[in-house]
Amino acid sequence: MSVRRLRAQTSSRVIDRVFIAVLLAAAIVFLAIIGGLAYSLVAGSSLSLRTFGAAFLWTSQWNPVTNQFGALPLIYGTIVSSLIAILLSGLFGVFAAVFLADFAPRPIARPLSFMIELLAAVPSVVFGLWGLFVLAPAMRNAIDPFLQKTLGFLPIFSGPSYGVGLLTAGVILALMIIPTVTALSRDVIATIPIDQREASMSLGATRWETMTKVVLPAARAGIFGAIILALGRALGETIATTMVIGNRPEISASLFAPSYTLASVIANEFTEATTDIYRNSLIELGLLLFIVSVMVNGAARLLIWSVFRRSVSAR
């Protein structure tokens, strides 16, 4: 081995080491950010953690005048509005993705994809204003009465409708996250090799059977990933939600009723929270939002993992 080659080899080894160190540092930065976030949320809410303890989780009063704080209606509003959003955007987003990836003629697919991605760039305050001035009246005049007439026997579709409320917030959130679901799902579906589709068709399967039995099962993990990413945005959305949800910290059986979310309360009240216990309680809401996000993400991952394992073992 010549001296020159040896030298070249050691220098490339050094480069590799530096490269790996940089990668490691990048990963550690994320850990540090999450750790720091969790620490400062706990430290910032220490007073309310001590004062209200675990009761903060299941009491329903939110009264800044008497300094009585409980987060249950806010947790409920956050989870339910996000669930509505995920149901709607999951359904329509995946349909749209299937159409764009496999069925749409090219001259339609290109501009349509572009427009869906454009929707992702619309700021949330614009969605909020549109929701307040266009969607909310439409919900009150048309959609809510229709649901009440057809499905009114269900408690979730009963009671008076004000236009703003949990369902309206869910619909706005669905519109906001549908580009994420559609764009990512379309990309995942497009990566499934064309041979598999051809094989399925050659066995006499219809396009419907090919899609539901071959393509979608193969793309399932990626589609779930897209939905989880979208869910993160729905859980933490602030401005658009607060404009259409009605901002009332109360749990009601009806989806037409006004509700409130963790992120919205923080945004609405933080600037004027002057007493220590009030500020601490708002930071504790931030902590809860953090925990809820981690748990929902974890649950979704568990779901994917179990579905995935079952489909593998079935083969």
């Binding site: 939110w62 009264n63 008497t66 307040l132 909310a136 008076p160 004000y162 009605g246 901002n247 009332r248």
Partner: protein, 341 residues
């Protein structure tokens, strides 16, 4: 020749730059309610006083007080004066003066009643407490015999974010209803007792809710209501007179209490006087009595004296704020004079 012109031009430019950097920047932070007024007024002030520019950040009243206590700004602005605890944290003598006035209209959306709805304090409290729930309630129909109030439910709209507007409105409710005072209280955000109540963000949010919801009622700043020609109820004041929310009616309410103080007990809601409109309040500016830099203090004092004098107050009037009454201007000016510079 050309060279000489160039040199002259350069000198001119440098001179301009020089005078630009010599202007002192005064900073303030706080109330969003004051922002349109302050932006216009301070712009005019810099035009006539090129040695001073005022930089105002409208971050909200609570934030303004916080920044003022931390001494990161020269003055704070708030819709609610600093309370005892905040004054204690400031740890120095503070002068708080009223700088402008605002009123709040009760706007509504009742099909068939485009204007002229009349409300008593008892009816307003009843609606916001959730005791009066339908527009054809006997309490309301007896007040409005000339119009037909429909049999639809009342939707109570309020501000969702903590705001001085809510403070003034709940202060009014607490002053006219003992039940409101004990059950709900006064605050920038409160726990709203009426079951059919919804929150909108900002004046525009509440106005949007009212416009889009038949049966809705809500409180909106006078300036916003005037700019957007919102329907406004005529209210019965303390002396039993029916008054509409106008700039003169709010000014009359303020003038009825000439001794202005920043104490928590001081408020001009439900003011005496036949012409007084009952839902109104001041916005305040706070400065340290002994500024750390006396020269800077002189400039701050001059700006604020100008702000409460007639020229700036007429700017406020043009923007649909309510200009301070003369007696209030005089007393604010006396307080400012006690600044030690």
């Amino acid at each position: 020749m050309l060279k000489r012109v160039t040199i002259a031009l350069l000198c001119g430019m440098l001179g301009a730059c020089g005078s630009g950097t010599s202007s002192t920047q005064i900073t303030g932070a706080g109330s969003t309610f004051d922002n349109p007024f302050f932006s216009k007024a301070f712009f005019e002030y810099s035009n006539s006083h090129p040695n001073v520019t005022v930089n105002y950040q409208s971050i909200g009243s609570g934030g303004g007080i916080e920044q003022f206590i931390q001494r990161t700004v020269d003055f704070g602005a708030s819709d609610v004066p600093m309370n005892a605890a905040e004054l204690a944290r400031a740890n120095a003598a503070v002068i708080q003066i009223p700088v402008t006035l605002g009123g709040e209209v009760l706007s509504y959306n009742v099909p068939g009643v485009p204007n002229g709805l009349r409300l008593t304090p008892k009816a307003i409290a009843g609606i916001y407490l959730g005791k009066i729930r339908r527009w054809n309630d006997a309490e309301l129909t007896s007040l409005n015999p000339s119009v037909h109030l429909p049999n639809i439910s009342i939707v109570v709209a309020h501000r969702s974010e903590a705001s001085g507007t809510t403070y003034i409105f709940t202060d009014y409710l607490a002053s006219v209803s003992a039940e409101w005072k004990s059950r709900v209280g006064t605050g920038k955000s409160v726990s709203w007792p009426a079951p059919a109540s919804v929150g909108g963000k900002g004046n525009e949010g509440v106005a949007g809710l009212i416009r889009n919801t038949p049966g809705a009622i809500g409180y909106i700043e006078l300036a916003y209501a005037l700019e957007n020609s919102m329907a406004a109820a005529t209210l019965q004041n303390r002396s039993g007179q029916w008054v509409a929310c106008t700039q003169p009616a709010v000014r009359a309410a303020a003038a009825s209490k000439p001794t202005v103080s920043a104490k928590k007990s001081f408020s001009i809601v439900n003011a005496a006087g036949a012409q007084s409109y009952p839902i109104a309040g001041y916005s305040w500016v706070m400065v340290y009595q002994k500024p750390s830099d006396p020269n800077r203090g002189k400039l701050i004092k001059a700006v604020l004296q100008w702000l409460i004098a007639n020229q700036a107050q007429s700017i406020a009037g043009g923007l649909k704020y309510v200009p301070l009454p003369a007696n209030v201007q005089a007393s604010a000016s006396r307080s400012l004079a006690s600044m030690q510079t």
